[in-house]
Amino acid sequence: DEDFERRDQRYKGQQYSHLYYCRLHKFREVLGSIVQSSLPRVPVSPILGLKDGKRCVVIGTVYKQMKLKPSILDEYAKERTKPLATASSFMHSEDYLVLEDASGRVKLVGSMIVPSNYVTGIVIAAWGQGGKDGDFFVRQIIEPGLPPQSPLPSITGKPACPYLKFRDKYVALVSGLRIGSDHCNPLQIQLLVDHLTGHLGDEQEQMLSAQVVRLIVAGNSLDVQYNLLAGQAISAKDQARLTEPVKELDIVLTQVTAAMPVDIMPGANDPANFTLPQQPLHKCLFPGASAYSTFLSATNPHRFELDGIEFLGTSGQNVDDLEKYSEAKDVIELMERTLRWRHIAPTAPDTLAGCFPYTDKDPFVLDTCPHVYFCGNQKSFMSRLVTGMYIWKLVRAISIPRFCDSGTAVMVTCSDRLFVGFQHR
């Protein structure tokens, strides 16, 4: 989590160019080595050095020119010719990709390119040749691929206690509790808490609860009533309405932190900062729960390690944005793409509103591959094993459904990354 904490970064009015530059710089090295190993005799050329017909590889950041992308300048255009786009998707058949590196830009053409699969902000290498009109005819796109992954700790090596059978450990993931909203069912949340804390069920069931070693709350735990914060003085009654959900959440968290380690991540609707990476929720919001040593307020994205297994996840903003600007079968495919691009939130400064303008690094670049990759606040529960080019890189990608809608939490075992869906009425 240290990468995602703001720490000493200060906003001094800088722009996002530093962020992009760091991103490009980092990936150029990575891609350079991949290109060298896969296409040894093809030179890497800067974009301005492209010659007609010469085959080479260019490495740069992708910019997707989208017709329907909302732009602030549209408000000033004399004629409103832009077709209306739905809020959910800005795709259009006439979108095209432009590759930009430190020297210049070039439009990518070719049938190999399917613009709907790509978004602005990823760094790729394109092998092809310069076309006549200044376009680049692409023969193959080379992505960075999954980052290196540390090997999973082997289970057999674990010295098992002679009296107990080795049992799986579970990590529980839940998101979208949305306490305070109208359609949140507090009984469901209470059932979840009761189960996790070991009250519910008979002894056998409680053994199952005992195997849960950690709970991750992946965002959107609160539903703040924004209409009350209209800028005028808030009456005492409204104040109570604003703070009631926080208190409820604190009671819920207190009950769970008394039983197991809990990590709570901020989400899009939580009272945390807006720009990614979101900083941890302040512990003054949870006076009851923060007294426990098991309570951890985490950033969004959140990375942690348990028993040698690396977990990485977000509260869903990155994937939601990708959904708007690219096409994919399902959420897991989008997550897979982010892993292949080695970047959690490629659209970050561009359309994923709010990214802190770092000057010296891009925190969303993945240097190592997690073993479990989750994404909260999705429509439904889905999970898949994502493999890299080499079979031994395996990532379990999980999309966590919104609890307020589905009543489902997810439990992941640490032994072989099986998953278990959790249903509450």
Binding site: N185, P186, L187, Q188, Q190, L191, L192, D194, H195, T197, G198, H199, L200, G201, D202, E203, Q204, E205, Q206, L208, S209, A210, G231, Q232, A233, K247, E248, D250, I251, T254, Q255, T257, A258, A259, M260, P261, C284, P287, G288, S290, A291, Y292, S293, T294, T408, M411, V420, G421, F422, Q423, H424, R425
Partner: protein, 440 residues
């Protein structure tokens, strides 16, 4: 394990609760009320239902693995009628136990949860030192040894002592002390938040201090030296946050403060504004400290500052700001503590008067408008127009630069300054910083 006699006692009590008071009793509520583990509570409920279950509706909790793929673990709360159906969906080994008993099942599931919630809130609202069953999960079937709870539980005054480590220590302890001392005096929650905000103000002040003093040389040492002396000299002082500030402030600074506080002499000033302004004032003074100080004037004006500090020290909004200047003059800077508490019955108001002085500058003066007209102290505030005079206070905090918005909350607006634009010197028209926010 409760023995049978206590179990019987509990069952009897249960009967009274459910039938007479028609409460909704869930196993968890039962376990927390009678301090038994939740498994025992479930068994008790079962026995109760066997004995007295007629006329009562029972909700069952069914949990187990589902039979259908993908296999998932399901927990459901169902009525008796749905019980068999729910069990059928689950694989072998599913468990059923009573979730709650009540006279009638409410339609809204949230109502099933609310008695538990009320009970949980009661436990939650207990003082942070108390360890109760909510907080240590003692009645569950599972225990975790990792959990350690910190019982101190002071949240509000968590002014981060770890912040700004480069700040020299002497001012800080004084600040902390003042924060807590204000809390001691405060009688309502509002003031508590005020204290926090005041702490914010001070922290900001500290930040500014830090930023501005790094460039200065040996004068800094003096700056720090003096506040520390003052603060150490005034340990019994438990009111105004201005105390640790050195009394060697500039005339203008003092006047500045006085103006700020003179404006607060109105009846409708609140705690909040006053203390807040206190924080604001601190900022201003620090800035001025960084700029060159005028020691002679400072010494004479020290007493003015004490006056103002008395102003700050008033917590109750009804009391006016008063004191006798004579008493002030008599008292020394060493014995500031005595001054602060004293309240003068005589009423005074500070009035702004503008005139052109001999050098052609527009001067806004603060005059004590009381039975003793104008013979009392008159402080001068010079406009920023005279740049060579470094004693002029540099821009005060941003909120003070909005004379226009002060109209609504102007304390003393008898003679508003003729200059409508920015006044670098703060006048009473500025009112308080909150008026700026209220306007929004």
């Amino acid at each position: 394990m409760a023995d049978s006699s206590s179990e019987a006692g509990i069952i009897e009590q249960l009967r009274a609760l459910v039938s007479d008071l028609s409460l909704m009793v869930s196993y968890k509520w039962l376990s927390r009320k009678f301090l038994i583990s939740s498994n025992v509570a479930k068994r008790l409920l079962y026995k109760f239902v066997e004995k007295y279950g007629d006329g009562l509706e029972v909700l069952y909790s069914v949990s187990g693995w589902t039979q259908s793929q993908p296999r998932s673990y399901s927990v459901k709360v169902v009525k008796l009628s749905q019980l068999e159906g729910a069990k059928a969906l689950l694989a072998e080994g599913s468990s059923v136990h009573i979730y709650s008993i009540q006279a009638s099942v409410p339609r809204d599931p949230a109502l099933v949860w609310s008695p538990d919630n009320v009970q949980a809130e009661e436990f939650f609202n207990q003082p942070l030192d108390a360890v109760n069953c909510l907080r240590d999960n003692r009645f569950s079937g599972v225990s975790c040894s990792l959990v350690k709870r910190d019982n101190k539980g002071t949240v509000s005054s968590s002014a981060p002592a770890s912040e700004k480590p480069s700040l020299p220590l002497p001012p800080k302890p004084a600040l902390m002390k003042n924060e807590t001392s204000i809390a001691a005096k405060a009688s309502n929650g509002e003031t508590r938040t005020v204290k926090q905000e005041n702490g914010e103000g001070r922290r900001d002040a500290n930040k500014r201090k830090e930023g501005s003093t790094t460039a200065q040389g040996s004068s800094i040492a003096n700056l720090w030296g003096r506040p520390s002396n003052n603060s150490k000299a005034s340990p019994p002082k438990n009111d105004s946050p201005q105390k640790p500030l050195p009394g060697n402030a500039d005339a203008c600074i003092n006047a500045l403060e006085e103006h700020e506080n003179g404006g607060s002499s109105d009846d409708d000033i609140t705690n909040f504004r006053r203390l807040r302004r206190g924080g604001q004032k601190r900022r201003v003074v620090l800035d001025d400290e960084v700029s060159e100080l005028k020691e002679e004037e400072a010494a004479s004006e020290e007493k003015e500052e004490e006056e103002e500090e008395q102003v700050i020290s008033l917590i109750s909004p009804e009391k006016k700001i008063e004191e006798t200047k004579h008493e002030d003059k008599a008292s020394n800077s060493n014995s500031r503590s005595g001054d602060d508490k004293r309240m003068d019955p005589k009423k005074k108001r500070k009035v702004l008067r503008t005139r052109i002085d001999e050098r052609g500058r527009e001067v806004t003066e603060v005059v004590w408008d009381t039975e003793e007209p104008e013979s009392s102290k008159i402080e001068e505030i010079e406009k920023v127009k005279a740049p060579n005079k470094t004693a002029a206070p540099p821009p005060p905090p941003p909120a003070s630069k909005h004379p226009a918005s002060k109209a609504s909350t102007s304390k003393v607006s008898t003679k508003p300054s003729s200059k409508p634009g920015k006044k670098a010197a703060c006048g009473p028209q500025q009112g308080s910083i909150t008026s700026f926010f209220k306007k929004k």
